[in-house]
């Protein structure tokens, strides 16, 4: 019995040591190894790209996977959203009911109007439109909001003063102040992923391929192909911001 206990103890210590060594080496490997570095592209090469986005509202089922994926990928602060999904329900009296509870991060759990009264319903995912003539970059007093050479609207957090003028200027409600760091924040089109030849987190998570991110200048890109074949709409085109987020099946009620 005593020998058995000693054996168990010895065995336990051996396992614990092996486990600790494994965890240590594993940690070093995970955080110390360079991993796959994004390919550094020259300004000239970047300028050949123009990133754009497509939302097919007819495919969206309002599951909220995109919102959850974006939140996890980009560490989005609580109660703010880089992307969200809106639900439109038009009843038989032509009343329009719109909601997006917590950006639909947990999807839609309750109905806005009774099923019998519902005439039409659809979901509209929203995100930064990465406008070519963006109002947010125009108003930034310190030049912290800028267009990348490949057409993505980004924020230089090391220069932003957190005045909030861009938040006011964006006609789409896509920007917010991240109070933890005191600067403006918004969708980056997962810029860190694009340059690893990955698509955005939201597009990856969408189970219905309702979101497509791609290069508008590449004739054979899925995004370009759809835009060349289908009819699409833009949000608030009257604002003159020339958005690069294109919508299929956009309803007049969507602002």
């Amino acid at each position: 019995m005593g020998d058995n206990t000693d054996l168990n103890r010895r065995r336990f210590i051996q396992l614990a040591l092996a486990g600790a060594t494994g965890a240590f080496v594993g940690t070093l490997t995970a955080f110390g190894a360079p991993g796959e570095k994004p390919e550094l592209r020259s300004m000239q090469d970047l300028s050949k790209l123009e990133w754009g986005f497509l939302v097919d509202t007819t495919r969206c089922i309002g599951c909220g996977s995109c919102v959850r994926a974006c939140s996890a990928e980009n560490d989005v602060p609580d109660s703010f959203y880089r992307t969200w999904v809106e639900r439109y329900e038009i009843d038989k009296d032509h009343e329009v009911h719109v909601d997006s509870p917590q950006g639909a991060i947990e999807s839609f759990k309750t109905d806005q109007c009774e099923k019998q009264r519902l005439a039409k319903g659809f979901f509209v995912p929203k995100l930064c439109n990465h406008c070519r003539a963006s109002a947010c970059t125009q108003v930034c007093p310190v030049g912290a909001s800028f267009h990348s050479p490949d057409g993505v609207v980004l924020i230089d957090r090391s220069r932003c003063v957190g005045c909030g003028y861009c938040v006011q200027a964006c006609p789409y409600g896509c920007r917010y102040i991240d109070h933890d760091i005191g600067t403006a924040d918004k969708c980056t089109l997962c810029y860190h992923r694009l340059h690893r030849d990955l698509t955005t987190a939201c597009a990856t998570a969408c189970p219905r391929q309702a979101r497509i991110c791609g290069d508008l200048r590449a004739p054979d890109s899925p995004l370009r192909r759809v835009l060349d074949q289908r009819r699409y709409g833009l949000l608030k085109p009257e604002m003159g911001t020339d958005p690069k987020c294109y919508y299929l099946g956009l309803d007049l009620e969507v602002k």
Binding site: S79, V98, V142, V161, G164, M239, G240
Partner: protein
């Protein structure tokens, strides 16, 4: 929250601090213009408050950036606005316009007080004498020629200062008016409305303080000055309120989608603060009181009470106007389908207490300045008392 607002709009970005900023710059511009009406245009009736208006403009100017700094997410980077300005942004001009205006007002005050400071320097001794000499930048000459040069400089700076004051405040209006995304702000009239309301607030604060201080300290009051202030206040408040109403009227008459949402805003979230308080109580009230004061032959005491009440109400009116513009515009969702809510906390970083402190400090500073260089009639009172003794 009512209806549907975009999820990022639930929190209002610009708080009561951004309400104070145009309010304080408005006081600056208005007070400066009153001082210039005397120094440049020679309106003698305003002489007793000319110095006070100039110093008030400067003191308010010192505190105008304070609410902004308190609001910035990264205040330590505030100077980026001048180091790396983006000149496509209307806001990037703030630092430069502010600095130019501050230099103009500072030197106007310096030339105005130079003679008095030289007299103090002559009588002073020790450290005080050295400090005074430093403040005078070593320029301790005083004779008829230097006095004439000082007066000329004050006049010249007042002339340059008027357009800069209008630019400073008109520009604040433009900051809001140029935001096309916001249907409550976006109008080319905004900067003119802001200039007019600035002048109203400037005249109102000077009138209020002039009457209050002379009453508290039992100083002689110039009825001619009060009458002039009353007429100016009436004229400018008519201009300011008419412009604002015309703007709303033209949007209402056009009957576009913009009016559909603004109608809801005015009749709903802003009904009490805009329609009831700003328009009826604080605009119509002073309009009637000032009209009665200007057109009827009222007993002097009653007329002056009307002026005092009107000045106080107009000070509140302009503050409400800033609130209704800055906060009102953010309550309306850019989805055009709903409204959010905002009420500042009492002890928040950008709350009511801090706002109160920021607005009170300039008045305390003015009080200190008054102790060094008395603003109103005290010299006349002293000389009158001296003459009586003799």
């Amino acid at each position: 929250m009512e209806g549907f607002v975009f999820p990022n709009e639930v929190h209002v970005t610009w708080t009561v601090m951004i309400v104070l900023y145009p309010y304080i710059t408005g006081l600056v511009a208005g007070a400066f213009i009153v001082s210039s009406l005397y120094h440049l245009f020679g309106i003698q009736a305003l002489k007793p408050i000319a110095t006070f208006s100039l110093v008030s403009a400067f003191v308010f100017l010192l505190f105008a950036p304070l609410p902004l700094l308190n609001h910035l997410g990264r205040p330590e980077r505030a100077m980026n606005i001048m180091i790396t300005p983006n000149f496509r942004s209307a806001m990037s001009g703030f630092g430069f316009v502010y600095l130019i205006y501050a230099v103009i007002v500072f030197f106007e005050i310096w030339f105005h007080f130079r003679g008095m400071m030289v007299e103090k320097w002559r009588e002073a001794a020790g450290l005080k004498r050295k400090l005074l000499k430093l403040s005078l930048l070593g320029s301790t000459d005083r004779n008829e020629r230097t006095d004439a040069i000082d007066r000329m400089m004050v006049r010249g700076l007042a002339g340059v200062g008027i357009p800069v004051a209008l630019i400073l405040h008109g520009y604040v209006g433009f900051l809001f008016g140029s935001i096309k995304a916001n249907p409550w702000w976006s109008t080319p009239l905004m900067f003119i409305i802001f200039i007019f309301s600035a002048i109203v607030s400037g005249i109102a604060v000077l009138t209020f303080l002039y009457q209050f201080v002379t009453w508290r300290q039992r100083l002689p009051v110039s009825q001619r000055t009060l009458n002039a202030l009353g007429r100016l206040l009436w004229a400018f408040m008519i201009g300011a309120v008419s412009l604002e109403l015309m703007e709303v009227l033209s949007v209402a008459y056009e009957q576009t989608e913009r009016w559909a949402v603004l109608k809801e805003l005015i009749g709903g979230k802003l009904f009490v603060s805009y329609v009831v308080f700003q328009l009826f109580i604080c605009s119509l009230g002073p309009f009637l009181l000032l009209m009665a004061r200007t057109l009827l032959r009222l007993p002097q005491r009653l007329a002056n009470s009307f002026l005092f009440i009107s000045a106080a109400l107009l000070l509140i009116q302009v503050l409400l106007m800033r609130w209704n513009v800055v906060i009102g515009g953010q309550l309306l969702s850019k989805s055009y389908r709903g409204f959010t809510s905002y009420l500042p906390g009492l002890f928040d970083k950008e709350g009511i207490l801090v706002a109160g402190i920021i607005i009170i400090i300039p008045f305390l500073l003015l009080r200190q300045f008054d102790r060094a260089f008395p603003f109103f009639g005290r010299e006349e009172k002293a000389s009158a008392a001296g003459a009586a003794k003799r």
